[in-house]
Symmetry: C2
Subunit: 328 residues, 2 copies
């Protein structure tokens, strides 16, 4: 197939082409202009680096674009964002990159924005040795603030969905050999690939929380997303809020075909990139929410005490010896 | 000297250390929270890449930090920003990077922010093969919009200062051999190094423009910065506003010790990274401003016609054959 390398296209033409992915009023100026009356802002940056966060063998340019948007906007949602304004993109690419790769990336970015809200506001593009997408998302703060440090003892711990799927999707995509004796159902494989390639978010989460609120005086609740895995999310909440998280292993929501065993528990708790929300609410509020939304699950509660994550009804004693991942 | 490599420090500890450069209320959460009542926003991203925009031989980590802030905030100022809110940093670094390099970078960033306004709001940090600083700056839009496409025929073209100094500073730093017969004065060398390493901006520019405004009905004026060189700034204004820029070569403000000759004209017009403002105003407004501020210079005017940059009173015919630089 005919390749159009960036070094042949040139910087000016590249900028012109990228501008076609943006709303017309953003183009031509030194920086982006955003109408924003009477609102406080939430701002988040995530950098995706080739061979650290993605490579050509396991994920397409379209899906990288989608995931870059999803991971950024997930952080806004988990802070209580009620409206996504848009994103700025710092793109670094080697001169030998084919234009079709960048076009697919930006198409994936725009498809995700159509899904979750917001537009491309602007950005910068530069040459470099490896491909990097540094994305900054901006949204407005809704009526209540969701924060990592706002969990309280006696509150119920809840989550919006199933974990581990994205990790399994990555393993299937990168043809990692796992236990050959395990049979994976077609449904589990499809769900996992979907979750890895084009994860869905919970853009209506704040609305659901507000609708279930029994007491309007509460303005902040404890929340984060599971981008670094369910265990890390629980650990972050317990450390920042300084409470003990007690998790009932039997209540953890798993895909109906999820295999049993230590390895599968590890994928479940430490996999990451599922972008589900992990949060805590006072008992009555939690009860209202659980009645109104069957996709949300109660998985434990917080107690006073030294920050920790403890499991009950769990046979896998080694689970907690594992630590969250680090890129370094 | 004892080195502390990032791979030994680990990601968690790095994040903790970087948090010390941020205001306390920003730390610990998924994303940054910004109070922003009743204001429209300006957002700008610039990516600085090792061996494309900087290398250890010619610039220190402190100065890279300062310049990253300066180039970003310059774009906000040249759009009519009246208040810098802050910046988000997407940092990519090889695991063998010494902590002292990052510490100096962030110290430079914070020193520049103290100078120009704003704070570090948040960011993300990841491993990569080469060092990259992708910075997104956010500010609020002032009373009038400064835009590249708002120049009009018959308006006076002005600039806030001297060009070429940063280019000369880079050449001195990187020990590029130029004409050995030229004697550079100490004052010119010092000014050039200062402009290259820690460029100053014009944070009060909008105020000066507003104070000189004879007619409050005008809400937009044509403006950009000279980050890609004076010639490119003029070309951008003329293309986006669709007018002919006529530049009087004899009016161009040069450092008193700037040497003569074709090469030096080239450094002057195509050097880049001086972050002066290049803009146009109706005659009366320009006159008021020139009376009130002696650092601002009239250098030409716009005419109706096909977008172009033309020089009068200039002997250097080859000057316009040169084109602006491209990173690809």
């Amino acid at each position: 197939m005919h390749k159009e390398l960036l070094e042949d296209i040139g910087e000016k033409e590249l900028i012109r082409r990228l501008a076609e992915f943006m709303p017309k009023n953003q183009v031509s100026d030194d920086c982006a202009f955003v109408k924003c009356k009477n609102k406080n802002l939430l701002v988040n940056t995530d950098a995706l680096v080739e061979n650290v966060h993605f490579n050509d063998d396991s994920i397409s340019a379209f899906d990288i674009g989608w995931k870059a948007v999803a991971s950024n906007i997930s952080d806004l949602i988990s802070s209580g964002c009620n409206k996504i304004i848009g994103i700025n993109i710092g793109l670094v690419i080697p001169p030998k990159t084919d234009w079709i790769w960048i076009k697919s990336l930006y198409t994936g970015i725009n498809r995700a924005l159509e899904h979750f809200g917001g537009v491309i506001l602007g950005g910068d593009c530069s040459m470099g040795k490896e491909r990097i997408i540094s994305m900054t998302a901006i949204g407005t703060q809704g009526k209540i603030k969701l924060r990592r440090n706002a969990c309280k003892p006696k509150e119920i711990i809840l989550t919006t969905g199933i974990h581990g799927l994205s990790k399994l999707g990555l393993m299937i995509k990168s043809k990692n050999v796992f236990d050959n004796n395990i049979f994976l159902t077609k449904n589990l494989i499809n769900k996992s690939l979907q979750q890895f390639c084009q994860p869905k978010l919970n853009p209506k989460f704040l609305k659901k929380i507000l609708n279930a609120r029994p007491n309007k005086s509460v303005k902040t609740i404890g929340c984060t997303d599971s981008s670094d895995g369910l265990f890390q999310a629980l650990l972050d909440l317990s450390i920042e809020s300084n409470c003990r998280a007690i998790i009932d292993y039997t209540k953890i929501p798993k895909h109906k075909d999820w295999p049993q065993g230590n390895k599968w528990d590890e994928y479940y708790f430490f996999g990451g990139e599922d972008y589900e929300l992990v949060f805590s609410l006072p008992r009555k509020w939690a009860k209202n929410l659980l009645c109104a939304d069957k996709t949300i699950t109660e998985i434990g509660f917080f107690l006073e005490g030294k920050a920790s994550v403890e499991f009950k009804n769990c046979n896998n004693e080694n689970l907690l010896k594992n630590k969250s991942f680090s890129h370094f």
